[in-house]
Amino acid sequence: MRIDHAIIENWVKPNTRVLDLGCGDGTLLKNLQQSKAVHGYGLEINSENILRCVANGVNIVEQNIDEGLSNFDDQSFDTVIMSQTIQTMQHPDKTLLEMLRVGKECIVTFPNFGHWRARFSIGIWGQMPVSEHLPFEWFSTPNIHFCTFRDFDVLCKALHLNVLNREVVCRRSVSQLLQYWHPNLFGETALYRLVKA
């Protein structure tokens, strides 16, 4: 199982209502259904992913999150998850606030643009980073709002959000040690669990 998924599973309480924004093929929701008996819904716009969600047996609703979540009532979910998607949103700040209107708490994960390899690419090579982790060229990337951990911390403070948990993960073992020393430099993926202050 993906490390970030394992961390999210730890944070989600059993038998709760979960909304997964940009749920991909529904793997996370399926795991949460099995391990935590959550009642979950995924939102997705990619037709291939929607098809895979159906095959995975999860609830899936075709909906563009950029157009808002106004169809969901206040506090109607225990947890609203957005995994590796916030950097693709038109208005990440508004999305975050919407997530915490609809959900009692939210979990957000995103690729850390402050990772040393991204810095190396821009700082030394003078080019936008393209990696296994971020495999898109600048002109075709869906990722339009990159940020670093530090940026995200600043945003949370500005929006008066409380960080309940914060984790960083990366795949390389060396970095796994270094990320504790300097998460903004060595963490590849950031995971935040947030509530309204």
Binding site: Y41, V54, A55, G57, N59
Partner: protein, 383 residues
């Protein structure tokens, strides 16, 4: 051209009439002492009797949903592209039941049938029906076929309304509810179209207040116009433009020559209207459009759709089509929002299509087929 049916066809089918003697109390308060329903089935009911699918038809549909009665039939049943071996409603897996609704005009008791009380055609005296009346008669068909629980109840448009009503009124009797291009209630604009169509029929002098059969006539012109109005609204503006544009069927606009001009779309609509008016009963058309207008899923649930859906025990698949303006995607989104609020399991997809409301019947729409098939594949049945 060969008359052989394609391999993925259900093949040659037959229909049969079932007679019911137990009186049926209708939503309008009247009682039908006896009635007949015409049904057709495809595939085989398994030993566990848990692989049955009920098809609910829309406004102009009937029991003949798939296959042909004779190899020479021009057209197969109305949902043939989606019912058959390897198709979304796969007859290798499912036993499919299709019923001509009460009030219909293709074999089931309806306004054109003889009223046993006076041996005259029912005509205008046939009771007004609601969607719940159809569901109640479909329940009796289920009992007749000894199907305790449907694997799925499936319907498009007005059929989707029946499928949803099933999920609320008989929650234990279905495991899946499939609602395609439908709505929880019609909009004012939608009712307006239906009323315009009805007026076209009623204004036809041959309508005779609905008792045209007793007068040995048929309001063909009125019914034809009604169908033309309907047909326009079942297509999208874009789709119609693409198919017909401003192409002429005859005549020209050459200056100096006075000749009648006919656009392709005029001729097409007229053909559609005329052929429909030969096979459909005007009173049934009025009855069906009224049932559409009257339907309001949450009326008996304090007008709270989420409260309504909280009674359901099945899982839902909801599908809409982008260019459908008669049953727009917004209507399906309302359904889905209510289901989520009621904590029901639901899959919702909005299929990109240029075919308007009719899209749910149109073949070769890859995404629609894939999604429909993927959902049906997940439905568990014993062998």
């Amino acid at each position: 051209m060969s008359n052989a049916l394609p391999e993925d066809s259900v093949g040659i089918v037959t229909c049969k009439t079932i007679s019911f003697d137990e009186p049926l109390r209708l939503a309008c308060g009247r009682v039908l002492k006896q009635y007949e329903l015409m049904i057709e089935t495809y595939g085989t009911l398994n030993a566990a009797k848990d692989n049955a699918i009920l098809i609910c038809h829309a406004l102009s549909g009937d029991h003949h949903a798939a296959g042909k009665y004779h190899p020479d039939d021009k057209k197969p049943g109305w949902w043939d592209h989606y019912i058959g071996p390897g198709k979304p409603m796969d007859t290798n897996k499912f036993f499919i039941v299709s019923i001509n609704n009460l009030g219909g005009c293709h074999g089931s008791t309806g306004p054109a049938s003889i009223n046993p009380e006076n041996n005259e055609p029912w005509g205008a005296d046939f009771p007004n029906l609601r969607v719940r009346d159809w569901v109640n008669t479909q329940v009796r068909v289920s009992d007749y076929l000894e199907i305790e629980q449907w694997a799925a109840v499936v319907g498009g448009s007005l059929g989707g309304m029946q499928a949803m009503r099933w999920s609320l009124e008989y929650p234990e009797r279905l495991r899946h509810c499939i609602v395609i291009a439908s709505a929880m209630k019609l909009t004012a604009q939608n009712i307006a179209f239906n009323e315009t169509a009805r007026r076209a029929i009623i204004a036809d002098p041959k309508f005779c207040d609905g008792n045209y059969l007793a007068h040995q006539t048929i309001p063909k012109d009125g019914l034809s116009v009604a169908r033309m109005i309907g047909h326009i609204t079942y297509l999208s503006g874009g789709g119609m433009g693409e198919k017909f544009g401003r192409d002429l069927r005859s005549g020209s606009f050459k200056q100096g020559i006075e000749e009648p001009v006919e656009f392709q779309i005029e001729s097409y609509l007229r053909y559609k209207g005329e052929s429909f008016s030969k096979t459909f009963d005007a009173n049934t058309y009025i009855l069906m459009t009224r049932a559409l207008d009257y339907f309001d899923l949450a009326r008996e649930y304090d007008h709270d759709p989420a409260r309504a859906f909280s009674h359901a025990l099945c899982k839902f698949l909801v599908i809409s089509f982008t260019s459908d303006w008669r049953f727009a995607p917004e209507r399906s989104q309302e359904i889905v929002n209510a289901m989520i609020k009621a904590d029901q399991d639901v899959v919702y997809a909005e299929i990109e299509s240029d075919y308007g409301h009719d899209a749910f019947l149109v073949p070769n729409q890859t995404r629609y087929i894939d999604l429909f098939s993927a959902y049906m594949n997940k439905i568990e049945v014993r062998s």
